[in-house]
């Protein structure tokens, strides 16, 4: 596969390390009353769709960016590649 890195252009997927669903960005509030259940769902449950999937790839043999790649798990087609940092900010994550 080839991942079109937003900063570096097309790179072979072999340069990257895969982690999983980009929902891992949405770490729950550890102080919430429901934290125990929230963290269980966050850490363990996955939509695991057959189709479009937003997922986290780390450019380990490159610039060490974490990327959010939108990829189809049926065809492996990639429609979008973003810096995870930007996605995280857009989802309200900060410090």
């Amino acid at each position: 596969m080839i991942i079109d890195h937003p900063l570096l252009g097309p790179r072979d997927a072999a340069e990257f390390t895969y982690m999983g669903d980009a929902k891992l960005i949405d770490r729950p509030d550890p102080d919430a009353d429901t934290a125990a259940q929230d963290f269980h769902d966050y850490a363990y449950l996955r939509d695991n769709p057959a189709g479009w999937h937003q997922e986290l790839w780390f450019h380990e043999a490159g610039d060490r960016s974490w990327l959010v790649v939108t990829r189809n798990t049926l065809t492996h087609e990639i429609s979008k590649v973003e810096l995870a940092r930007d996605v995280a900010r857009s989802r309200g994550r900060n410090k």
Partner: protein, 978 residues
């Protein structure tokens, strides 16, 4: 030996003669021959034996679809089993042996299987060999295994080198037949970056095998001329002898180039083969088509061949399979074979055409509406039995029979991404469907365009479309005959009519498969083994599908095909591995002191990709324990030095660096003073311990984090995740500096005295106490870092200098330490001292243990958020009888306490249910004079002093042990602070 079936013409170089040997007999051939063409020219039809029934077999085809003519090529370590004689380029001194036989090729004892064939039908083995149960492994299976298999591996290391390479292009053209050449010409002249790859050693595809003209010259000459023009274009890369084996994601193709297989052995410095990973913006598949046979009784005798293969042997190689040839066809292409052979002086015994309106020929008989129903001849064809249109039988004498059942487009690569082919009635074959791999188009016969003129047009048009060019070039006039075919798959009433010749799957087997309910194509394949041979059913699958369709009352497209999978043709495993074998399997990382340690005679050990000194044997030491014990004792007595560069180092800088580490580590880091180091434990988000190490605060906004050697990369990746994905606005920057700093542990009561001779600053206990850290200089100005941390439990430091000074520093330490008897120690002594001190490492932080298990439960701060804190509170991770890290010592000091052994109560059963824990790390402690160990014990914190049994049934150990504190040495930590 005369080449008795060598006929005129062809693209072989008759000026040169090549000697070769098959089954010990010498023959002669010419450059341009394949092994199969040379054997046929020499009158050799018998080339192999089939897999199951050991039936005598000759070449069926003239290409990579060959199921029968498989040989062991070359000898010694280069022996190459299952090599298709039809694709082996002849070279001088070529050595080949027939395979899968017991006895000689002519008298194969296992041919008895053919007599027993009625008992050995499809799937018979699923129904028997079950009693008595123990006989399967002891009797039945060994016999079956010995008889099975095809060729043999030598068992010796493959002596050749394989390379890997990477290519990029605008257009990858797969196949250099008329379509591929027209495409390459179009794209090449337009200036595009083109790769033209073909599995054959001579580009041109069928043009090299045909007699008709292309423009004003022969097809072969036009191909040669075109290849010459392409070769002159710097933007075109010609890759003959290169098979595109697979279409992978996003326009990535695998290509196997056979660099040296046509040579006796690779030239010096050259690989045998190269595996290319080709990144193609667009690809045009021009892979041609494969002729398919017709099934009839005993259609597998040597001499029964594909019609177009006979034509190839005659036209391209100047070889006749026999001087008398018959043809069996259901389409016009069979007649082309007859005409060409006739023109070459081969006698056409008869053309048997199933069609009542077959075209006639003045010079030989055409039997319209007739069928070949059987053949005769023990080791090769001598007669065929023909049933004529009126039902009468007729015997025709011939030494070769060309069978032409139509052509199947080579759709293989179009299906590698799960696309499905679609049925085309006009040619009675599957053609590529809509769902092609991204960027791929198909042209020529691969797309069902079977005329040469059509192939040229579609190839050129394919290039125009792929590259968005304006116009197609002028193309030469050539053959444009329509396809006339009447689908005909098998002769009714036949029984032992072969479909899959290699695996001996007959029409009868397909019928049995249907009868027993194995009716889906995948069941048919798996039950009968149809299409599972080394040719993957290239010539056999269609016949099987057609017969299954008929039996099931369905159409062929309703039955469908099995899945096409890479590689297109079998590919040497060595090519996929490339140079990643032997010492090159993984990269080797050397520490800064490696050269110096080598000079000291160190014994090295693989630690991941690193090589680390394991111990430093001294003269007179005959056992590793002597060296290790000495290193440990010397360090604890005076001073030792150890290269700890391999531990991960991560530089953490920024105004939020402390806040960041406070999140990363379960224990607090926010208030760590500048100039101080703190031990830190990192959890995964699931609450399990991930890694431990130290973080040194060199400045308000600057920390240096260390990790274990094994986790250097995962921890760094994790920290970047936490930063970039969870807390993107923290002002912190991370960089791995593992390779940037050479780092040595200097440990022992004299370590300060030694370092004072090297370090430029005051490092007295007052100025530089336990857990201090600083940017310093050494040797009069070289920048360095000093950390007063201890893994050994002694007064100790770790000192780091830029890697390029690492070698100099170890030499300086050794020189300055001579007065203290400084002792270099390796990973073994390091391990002994950390076990004596009770420090956990990868054996204890093994991915399943918690801070609690490690005796560090109280470190998990409840006052702050940190990764893993929430889930570490789950009930299952906080049970009263949790495993706790303990120390273990033998009751009898002479006994060992081996790692991997399990703990059992002093009394009671020894089994899994009563398991109390296990030993994680063990060693001999030269300071205590007996073996010691660390381990995990249920409720271990409350069981200090208890006696248990340590059992290792695997290694025959059962011994009594006492549970003690894991801190065997200096539990109060006085030495650290000295």
């Amino acid at each position: 030996m005369s080449q008795k079936n060598r006929i005129a013409g062809g693209q072989i170089d008759r000026a040169k003669t090549l000697k070769f040997s098959f089954d010990g007999r010498s023959y002669a051939g010419h450059p341009g021959d394949t092994l199969a063409s040379a054997l046929l020219a020499n009158g050799v039809r018998l080339m192999g034996r089939s897999f199951k029934y050991h039936r005598p077999r000759g070449a069926l085809s003239a290409g990579s679809e060959e199921p029968n003519a498989l040989v062991e090529l070359r000898g010694g370590a280069r022996q190459e089993p299952n090599t298709r004689a039809t694709t082996v380029e002849l070279f001088d001194g070529l050595l080949a042996k027939s395979q899968n036989r017991m006895g000689s090729l002519r008298f194969d004892l296992l041919a008895i299987n053919d007599r027993l064939s009625n008992f050995l039908t499809a799937g018979f083995y699923y129904k028997t060999f079950m009693w008595p149960a123990a006989f399967w492994e002891k009797l039945y299976e060994p016999v079956i295994r010995k008889a099975a298999g095809l060729g043999s591996l030598s068992g010796k290391d493959d002596p050749d080198v394989y390379d890997k390479g990477f290519l990029h292009c605008d257009l990858l053209i797969i196949g250099a037949g008329p379509a591929g050449l027209a495409a390459a010409l179009t794209a090449g002249r337009a200036g595009a970056d083109v790769i033209l790859a073909d599995e054959d050693f001579s580009m041109g595809g069928r043009l090299n095998s045909e007699t008709f003209a292309v423009g004003d010259r022969s097809g072969a000459d036009w191909a040669a001329q075109t290849v010459a023009e392409l070769a002159s274009l710097s933007n075109v890369r010609l890759m003959p002898r290169t098979t595109i084996i697979g279409a992978f994601d996003h326009g990535t193709y695998g290509g196997l180039e056979r660099v040296s297989d046509h040579l006796h052995s690779p030239d010096a410095g050259k690989p045998r083969q190269i595996l290319w990973r080709i990144y193609a913006k667009r690809a045009l598949l021009c892979a041609g088509a494969t002729e398919r046979p017709i099934a009839f009784d005993n259609n597998d005798r040597p001499g029964v061949m594909l019609g177009a293969a006979l034509r190839t042997y005659a036209n391209r190689f100047g070889a006749a399979a026999d001087r008398r040839v018959a043809i069996f066809t259901n389409n016009d292409d069979g007649h082309r074979t007859a005409r060409d052979l006739h023109a070459k002086g081969v006698r056409i015994s008869a053309v048997v055409d199933v069609r009542p309106d077959a075209p006639l020929h003045p010079d030989y008989q055409v039997l319209r509406g007739a069928q070949v129903v059987d053949t005769r001849g023990r080791l090769g064809l001598s007669f065929i039995d023909v049933r004529q249109a009126d039902g009468t039988m007729r015997v025709v004498e011939c030494g070769a029979l060309g069978v032409s059942g139509g052509w199947n487009p080579n759709v293989h690569l179009t299906c590698h991404q799960r696309g499905l082919p679609v049925w085309d009635d006009a040619i009675a074959a599957f053609v590529p469907g809509e769902n092609l791999p991204v960027g791929m188009a198909v042209a020529g016969a691969a797309n069902g365009v079977f005329t040469t003129a059509g192939a040229l047009r579609s190839g050129a048009a394919g290039a125009v479309a792929a590259l968005d060019l304006g116009q197609t070039p002028d193309l030469p006039q050539t053959e444009d005959a329509p396809v006339n075919i009447t689908p005909f798959w098998y002769v009714k009433g036949c029984a032992r009519a072969w479909l899959d010749q290699q695996n001996d799957v007959t029409v009868k087997d397909v019928k049995l498969s249907h009868q027993e309910g194995f009716r889906s194509v995948e069941h048919l394949k798996r039950y009968t083994t149809l299409g599972m041979a080394t040719d993957q059913g290239k010539t056999s699958n269609m016949g099987g599908l057609a017969i299954m369709a008929e039996l099931a009352g369905k159409t062929i497209p309703q039955v469908g095909t099995t899945i096409f999978r890479p590689p297109y043709t079998p590919t040497a495993i060595g090519a996929f591995a490339g140079r990643h074998r032997g010492q090159g399997f993984h990269p080797t990382r050397l520490t800064p002191s490696h050269k110096w340690a080598q000079e000291q005679g160190a014994v090295f050990v693989e630690v991941g990709n690193w090589m680390r000194a394991q111990w430093f044997p001294q003269p007179g030491e005959t056992h590793w324990r002597q060296s290790v014990d000495r290193e440990v004792l010397a360090t604890r007595k005076s001073v030792g030095v150890c290269d700890v560069t391999t531990l991960g180092k991560i530089d953490v800088q920024g105004t939020d660096a402390a806040a960041f580490l406070n999140t990363i580590y379960c224990n607090g880091f926010a208030k760590l003073a500048v100039g101080k180091v703190r031990y830190g434990l990192m959890l995964r988000e699931d609450g399990i311990a991930m890694d431990d190490g130290t973080a040194a605060r060199l400045a308000e906004d600057h920390f240096v984090v260390t990790t274990t050697t094994a986790n250097a990369l995962p921890v760094y990746r994790h920290m970047e995740f936490v930063h970039q994905c969870l807390f993107p606005d923290l002002d912190v920057q991370l960089i791995s500096t593992t390779e940037a700093w050479a780092q040595y542990a200097v440990a022992g009561p004299n370590s300060r005295k030694l370092l004072e001779k090297i370090v430029d600053q005051d490092i007295s206990n007052a100025a530089f106490p336990f857990m201090a850290c600083a940017n310093i200089t050494v040797c009069g100005g070289l920048r360095a870092r000093l950390f007063r941390i201890s893994f050994s439990g002694e007064l100790a430091y770790e000192i780091a200098v830029p890697t390029m000074y690492g070698d100099a520093l170890i030499r300086r330490i050794m020189a300055e330490g001579a007065e203290f008897g400084v002792t270099p120690y390796g990973t073994e002594a390091l391990g002994v001292m950390r076990i004596e001190k009770g420090h956990a490492t990868g054996n204890e932080i093994n991915g399943t243990t918690t801070a609690q298990n490690l005796g560090m439960g109280r470190m998990v701060s409840t006052k702050k958020d940190s990764i893993g804190a929430v889930l570490s509170r789950r009930e299952g991770l906080n049970r009263a009888d949790d495993l706790r890290q303990v120390g273990i010592k033998p009751v009898d000091p002479a006994e060992k306490v081996p790692a991997g052994a399990h703990l059992m109560n002093a009394q009671g059963p020894v089994d899994a249910v009563h398991d109390q824990g296990y030993v994680t790390s063990a060693c001999y402690s030269p300071n205590l004079g007996h073996h010691i160990a660390l381990g995990f014990l249920k409720n271990g914190g409350n069981r200090i002093g208890e006696e248990l049994r340590l059992v290792s049934p695997l290694t025959g150990v059962e011994t009594r042990v006492e549970i003690v504190s894991p801190h065997f040495i200096d539990p109060e930590g006085e030495r650290l602070r000295a």
